[in-house]
Amino acid sequence: MTAITKRQRRAEVDRAVCVACGCCLKVCPLSAIEVYRGVYARVDQRRCVGCGMCAGECPAGVISVWEVQA
């Protein structure tokens, strides 16, 4: 018997190359992303639903959406 796993998607920011412009915050429907101290954006993994809106908007292309096991 295989364990039932639910696959979910989450956005993740590559912090070292984020330019902290905040384009991502403006499009996130769940306000799950914030810019930390003007240095990089970070995603609240509990709120993010992995819709990818932020990734499509980010001009630096530093957001990727991953599948996670929940």
Partner: protein, 197 residues
């Protein structure tokens, strides 16, 4: 979602660019877009300006997303590299100080007022209609012409990268954005690590 007042700041940015066509002295108002972001970064240690109050980026986002004037392709890798971003910042400031130097020469009486707007640091556009002389020293006008040149150049560059890449691609190499992030980095206790799960 109800819109808040700061989501309409693009109107201010647009008005600023238009006013410069009629009276160049309005260019002085652009100093706000220098001191605000820097002040917020220095005092609060955040990019609050970029994240909430920048009208120019709202304008790019509106034109690129709402009006569909952007190809929405990935910004090229070199453009978002640290070398290019910091290099552009240095170049931008070198040009800025050159502009200040020319203003100083006019103030000192060593040079006459040049009523031109310089686009992309190269092309001199005649702009004499926007200035008919005032009680102020010609140096005041020279600064306005120079500053408007800086604002027009960055707007044009931003529009080009908006069209070619993502709407707000300008934000990747915007000197104000790079500088405020550097200030925030200097003030931030932890350094960001490369973070990929």
């Amino acid at each position: 979602m109800k819109k808040t007042w700061n989501e309409y700041l693009w109107i201010a940015s647009l008005t600023y660019m238009i006013l410069g066509f009629f009276n160049i002295l309005f260019a002085w108002l652009g100093l706000l877009c220098f001191f605000f972001p820097l002040g917020i970064a220095i005092v609060k240690g955040t990019k609050g300006y970029c994240n909430h109050y920048c009208g120019r980026s709202q304008l790019f986002s509106l034109l690129g997303n709402r009006l569909g004037l952007s190809r929405k392709k990935d910004t090229p890798r070199w453009m978002k590299s640290k070398a290019f971003r910091y290099g552009f910042l240095v170049f931008f400031f070198a040009m800025f100080f050159l502009m200040l130097w020319n203003t100083w020469l006019v103030f000192a009486g060593a040079q006459n007022l040049k009523q031109v707007v310089t686009l992309l640091w190269t092309f001199k556009l005649p702009w004499h209609w926007a200035y008919r002389g005032t009680l102020f020293h010609p140096g005041v006008a020279q600064f306005a012409f120079g500053f408007y040149s800086v604002m027009l150049t960055s707007t044009v560059l931003g529009l080009i990268t908006m069209a070619l890449f993502r709407p707000r691609s300008w934000c990747v190499y915007c000197p104000m954005g790079t500088m405020t992030q550097l200030i925030c980095k200097a003030k931030c206790p932890q350094k960001p690590r490369r973070h990929v799960p």
